[in-house]
């Protein structure tokens, strides 16, 4: 089976608020999939429905071939989960907590190796409550993969990471996906992160998936309009166009030579993303 997660027409309503209005998603096994979207878009809601933590209002959802609302312990053992807001077990030792949670699985990772892989070897004897924000987050990630999950959910895992920790975290995830064939689903606000890490990315806006695809596809899709600027009759002209090379060529013909002050600008992914969100909202 090559599909890890399949979502059709997912809807979620909180009272009068329609948070998800027909989300369709297909996540393949072994891929790193990022879910992007502004605050309050419903990323956490979507992910928690997939994790079986929340009942959806409507739609069909299948995670590793099971409806999350009916998933038992065997199903849960195949998932790894890193939530957005954990501040628990502050009195436990780092290693102690890792060892404790590893006992719930049949073939857990080795606690020592696991801590080393997230760079917490030195903190192994420390109390969880004494960790810095970024260290705490790394511990959360370690606990998420302790049971060798087939599918790992991470809700904003890199919030509070310093650049080096972020880089190492990306390497870790990439390695896990490549070596263990683990499927990774993560939410983030960091476009660069999504671009760098993900095989595919979906952008959730206004309760629907606005675009979904590889970084290349995404860039093409959202970067539809480039701007072409030049000087004519002493004034600056601007043209928005999906095909800037063609516009430049036409201008070149019209001027019958070099176009004064010609400038072609493709918006950055970030600008396109902001524009996309603005359009859908």
């Amino acid at each position: 089976m090559s599909t890890a997660v399949s979502v059709r027409g997912l809807r979620m309503r909180y009272g009068a608020a329609d948070v998800l209005r027909g989300v369709d998603l297909e996540i393949r096994r072994g891929e790193i999939f990022t879910l992007l979207g502004p605050n309050g878009a419903g990323k956490t809601t979507t992910i928690e429905i997939l994790e079986g933590f929340r009942r959806r209002s409507a739609g069909e959802v299948s995670v590793l071939g099971t409806d999350p609302e009916k998933g038992g312990d065997d199903w849960r053992a195949r998932l790894g989960i890193v939530l957005q807001n954990w501040r628990d077990h502050t009195r436990w030792g780092v290693r102690e907590l890792v060892v404790h949670l590893s006992r719930f699985y049949d073939a857990p990772r080795d606690p020592g190796e696991l801590l080393a892989s997230v760079g917490l070897t030195e903190q192994a004897g420390q109390q969880v409550g004494r960790l810095s924000g970024g260290q705490r987050r790394r511990l959360d990630v370690a606990l998420g993969i302790i049971g060798r999950p087939e599918l790992l959910f991470l809700d904003e895992p890199t919030t509070g990471f310093d650049p080096q920790a972020r880089h190492e975290f990306h390497l870790l995830l990439t390695r896990l996906a490549a070596d263990d064939g683990m499927t990774v689903v993560l939410t983030t606000h960091d476009l660069a992160e999504a671009e760098k890490l993900a095989h595919r990315t979906a952008i959730l806006v206004g309760g629907r998936i606005a675009v979904c695809g590889t970084p290349g596809e995404l860039a093409r899709e959202v970067q539809a309009q480039s701007s072409v600027r030049w000087i004519e009759d002493g004034r600056e002209r601007v043209l928005s166009t999906p095909d800037p090379s063609r516009s430049a060529w036409e201008l070149h013909r019209r001027f019958d030579g070099p176009v004064p002050g010609l400038e072609i600008r493709r918006p950055s992914l970030e600008e396109s993303y902001l524009e996309l969100i603005g359009r859908a909202a």
């Binding site: 312990d73 998932l79 957005q84 807001n85 628990d88 009195r91 049971g147």
Partner: protein, 276 residues
């Protein structure tokens, strides 16, 4: 079963964390045992009015009963709320078999705490207050065990209903203190108006205290008890009834609480605490 085994280790680990935590340790030792020792020194020598039994012996039974009661119905529910707020419950929910292990762990921790504090109280009573060791160990044992079993599921049920750790502390502490006065654990219940005696008899604290007095006090104390009897069959029946009530209430409430637990509820509460 794996979850139960992990839960027991978990409970023991949490118990050890409490012992290692200085604030917690001082709170328990000074708060419960130290206060008890002071009371013994201050008024332990005097006899209970109208009897030949020392206040110290009477108070020993009362403090023991209150220890069981407050651990089960105050400490336990508040730790459930804290675990919910910090996300410990949700983390265990993300793990296969995590919730049964979590609940087992909480129960084991409470049992360890009760056992430790009871032992310290009895030791203090004997060493500081010169109280004779209990004359009926068997009664002491079954009343302590049944009393504990009666309050633990009930405490879990209460914990599921408390809205937050901040407001929860007051919500459980106040009724607890109100109940302490008429339950006959501080002074003989027969000194109370009859209406209040009836109220006290509706709750497990009175019966727990009565059973423990039966274990510690001589029959000459019976003049200060309702109906002039230890009424041990009633002790068993009422504590048993509260056990059953707790067992009926707790599973549904616990299921509801864990089912409703999610990351954004966690975030909501954390925002609310930050704002406050």
């Amino acid at each position: 079963m794996r979850a139960l085994r992990i839960g027991m280790r978990r409970g023991w680990a949490e118990h050890m964390h409490l012992l290692r935590n200085r604030r917690e340790l001082i709170g328990t030792l000074i708060g419960a045992v130290g206060f008890f020792a002071l009371m013994l020194l201050w008024m332990g020598d005097r006899p209970v009015k109208g009897t030949d039994v020392s206040n110290a012996t009477f108070m020993t039974a009362g403090f023991l009963a209150f220890t069981v009661f407050s651990n089960g119905l105050m400490t336990l529910p508040l730790s459930l709320v804290t675990d919910r707020e910090e996300g410990a419950l949700l983390r265990l929910r993300a793990v296969p078999g995590g919730i049964p292990a979590y609940l087992t762990g909480r129960a084991v921790t409470v049992l360890c705490q009760i056992a430790l504090q009871s032992a310290l109280l009895v030791a203090t009573a004997v060493l500081v207050g010169g109280v004779a060791p209990p004359r009926d160990w068997l009664t002491l044992a079954w009343v302590l065990v049944l009393g504990t079993v009666a309050v633990v599921p009930l405490g879990a049920a209460i914990g599921c209903l408390l809205p937050s750790s901040k407001s929860g502390a007051g919500m459980v502490a106040l009724p607890m203190m109100l109940l302490l006065v008429p339950s006959g654990v501080m002074f003989p219940v027969t000194a109370m108006p009859e209406a209040i005696q009836w109220v006290a008899q509706a709750f497990p604290l009175y019966w727990q205290g009565l059973g423990l007095r039966a274990a510690f006090l001589p029959d000459s104390m019976l003049v200060a008890e309702i109906a002039g009897s230890w009424r041990l069959p009633y002790v068993a029946a009422v504590l048993g009834a509260w056990t059953v009530a707790g067992m009926l209430l707790a599973p549904g409430l616990i299921r509801r609480m864990t089912r409703r637990e999610s990351g954004s509820r966690l975030a909501e509460r954390q925002l609310a605490t930050q704002a406050a």
